[in-house]
Symmetry: C2
Subunit: 390 residues, 2 copies
């Protein structure tokens, strides 16, 4: 197992404190494991307290010796009750708490413990820091991509006519897990669950569902109405495989197209249009265009290529994003989206996914996870891009 | 796909209204998909509003036609913005909102829309209703158990010396998915994630982690520090397989013991002690003992059998529950636990899991999902209980 380097954790804490100072926070608490993992290197059941003018304290409920092994944080203490934290807290005025994810009742209880303080949401601070990936994080993403490449190269060996989408999903998941894939993808949401087995064949690619995706898929039941289904995969239909991988908490996203015997021309053309959009938008990222401009530009390209009706879904189900940041969460900053107005800065890692959905027929598209670095882009998901026809 | 019967949904809504009346709520909103699925039959992205004196309204963000197909609720409307709900709301005084799961910031925004009302947590109402399972729910649990039985019967065909825990987990997961297992288990928690592949061999069974379980396991990384790991499975060690299945949203939990060549005597003895505790506690449930009494009784039994040191973990990592309710969530009411004081009523479904953990050596135990019905207990997880030695 890899542990986050000490220097990296201390650098992250220092950068956090800098942002806390700018936001006038005297201290900040991180209850959400994705964020305290980023700041400490451990996901044991814990609560992180970062005072502006002192060393951070990690309060661990379970299991403290493991947290100490995994995290270089110096003050790691065991707590039984949340009230045990009081002795570590000095008088504070503005206190950061993760108000965007922590349930209302938990915040109220926590406020009772803190006493008369002004609560401020501190999640924007970690979300800001996490936008820029470090070399260590890129290494983990590269390892995730290496697992993913092996999985995609395995597909032609196992994909056969008549198998169900979920059967293929399960086989790929098993293969990926044996290589270190953690099986769970993570999103910051009460209701939306990410999952790995997003495999859509033929018309299931045109089925819309609860997820904010051009194509939701049929899924297995009303209680899991997304992704791979019991539909059997046939010859001569598009097979869209959007199979995320998670390695040491870092996620990578990629979509490639497959077919048995042949791929209908409209999907081949749609796929090539998606590739063109994908590369042209990447070029404009490097020129400093803002998120909004990039999104509009991609729509313009889809129009010019004759795919406006199908680009990012069909009406009224079109989605309003083309790319999402990716790392510890499947969907994090920065986004390329209709209502986001900032450039995609150097250091960002985004999953860019132009897709076309043809009503009742299916879907096609490409997705790569891309690192913007030193004024260039570098595609981390290095699986070959041609359509694989078996 | 199975849809929840119309009569069942209407009955649930009526029972909810009865509880709302008792709690003096004029209306209640359900934002959390597990609960609105229970009340409507759909998990599309939605918000359910139940006025005390009128028909419920399901506001659907995505995708409304699918919600209409899945749910018998009469008023299903499409919304773009949360503000669209205003026209459906009459003046109310006490309004239910799910304050235990909805993030603080979302509650504050929502309160702005509702205006001057008194917010009350309405989650206890659905959690109360969900304690008693209907015949339809039992059917789904039985189907989940049937998948699980097939998975466990598959184990002797694929378990070989030298494979990693996660490799076995992936193979079983693939097999289960092909049969309809949904791959995701669900818990009501910000930080705790459930997963299917809880496979622990030899000493990984004694590794404690962040989860509230006697044995956490090693997991794959500090970012996924629970469950199956890259440890290779050896001969002559206990292999604990706690492999949950989810079918149409309903989860079932079961633990059985396996070994290659032989199982060391202490684990065989520990397993038989667990079985004895399991059955003796079930008998006392039928006699109307309270949760607390049942828990203390199980501890007494473990003492008498000579396993007090190892029962439900070793010090200081012992857990304080023996059983959890199970259904749409992996862990729901009722519990058999140190600090719960109620009887386990007729209609409940619980997963009862006495387990022994031997420091540095490993773990053993049994788990069954059991339906308490008509004054009897019925074990839903009907996989044979003997230790399987390959």
């Amino acid at each position: 197992m890899l542990y986050a380097p000490k220097e990296e954790i201390f650098l992250r804490i220092n950068r956090l404190k800098h942002l806390m100072e700018k936001a006038s926070m005297d201290g900040a608490f991180f209850h959400y494991k994705i964020d305290y993992y980023y700041l400490t290197g451990t996901m044991q059941d814990a609560l992180l307290f970062v005072p502006l003018d002192d060393e951070p304290v990690l309060f661990v409920k379970r299991e403290v010796s493991r947290a100490k092994r995994e995290s270089p944080i110096k003050r790691i203490v065991s707590i039984r009750s949340i009230k045990d934290i009081i002795s570590f807290i000095k008088t504070m005025k503005n206190v950061g708490v993760q108000l965007d994810v922590l349930p209302y009742n938990d915040v109220i209880k926590f406020k009772d413990i803190l006493g008369d303080v002004n609560l401020v949401n501190c999640s924007p601070l970690t979300r800001e820091l996490r936008k820029i990936k470090s070399p260590f994080e890129i290494t983990l993403l590269e390892r995730a991509a290496a697992i993913q490449k092996m999985v995609y190269e395995y597909i032609p060996h196992v994909l056969v006519e008549g198998m169900t989408e979920i059967e293929l999903g399960g086989i790929l998941e098993a293969y990926a897990k044996a290589l270190g894939h953690e099986g769970i993808l993570r999103v910051r949401s009460l209701n939306y669950e990410a999952y790995t087995w997003h495999i859509l064949s033929g018309r299931t690619g045109s089925i819309v569902s609860q997820s904010d995706s051009p194509m939701g898929g049929l899924g297995l039941s009303p209680a899991f109405p997304v992704g791979a289904s019991m539909k059997r995969i046939k010859r001569n239909e598009p097979i869209l495989i959007d199979f995320g991988i998670c390695y040491h908490g870092y996620q990578i996203d990629q979509t490639r197209m497959f077919a048995i015997n042949s791929m209908p021309k409209i999907f081949v053309d749609g796929y090539e249009a998606c590739r063109e959009i994908h590369y042209k938008v990447l070029d404009k990222i490097l020129e400093g265009w803002t998120s909004k401009e990039l999104f509009e530009y991609s729509k313009k390209l889809a129009d010019d290529l004759g795919f406006s009706e199908y680009y990012l879904g069909f009406k009224p189900h079109k989605v309003k994003f083309l790319a999402h940041g990716i790392g510890l969460e499947l969907s994090e900053f920065p986004f390329i989206a209709a209502n986001h107005d900032y450039p995609i800065n150097d250091g960002a890692v985004i999953a860019i996914e132009p897709k076309m959905v043809f009503p009742k027929r299916g879907a096609c598209g490409i997705e790569n996870t891309v690192h913007i670095t030193n004024g260039k882009y570098r595609i981390l998901t290095n699986t070959e891009e041609r359509i694989i026809v078996i």
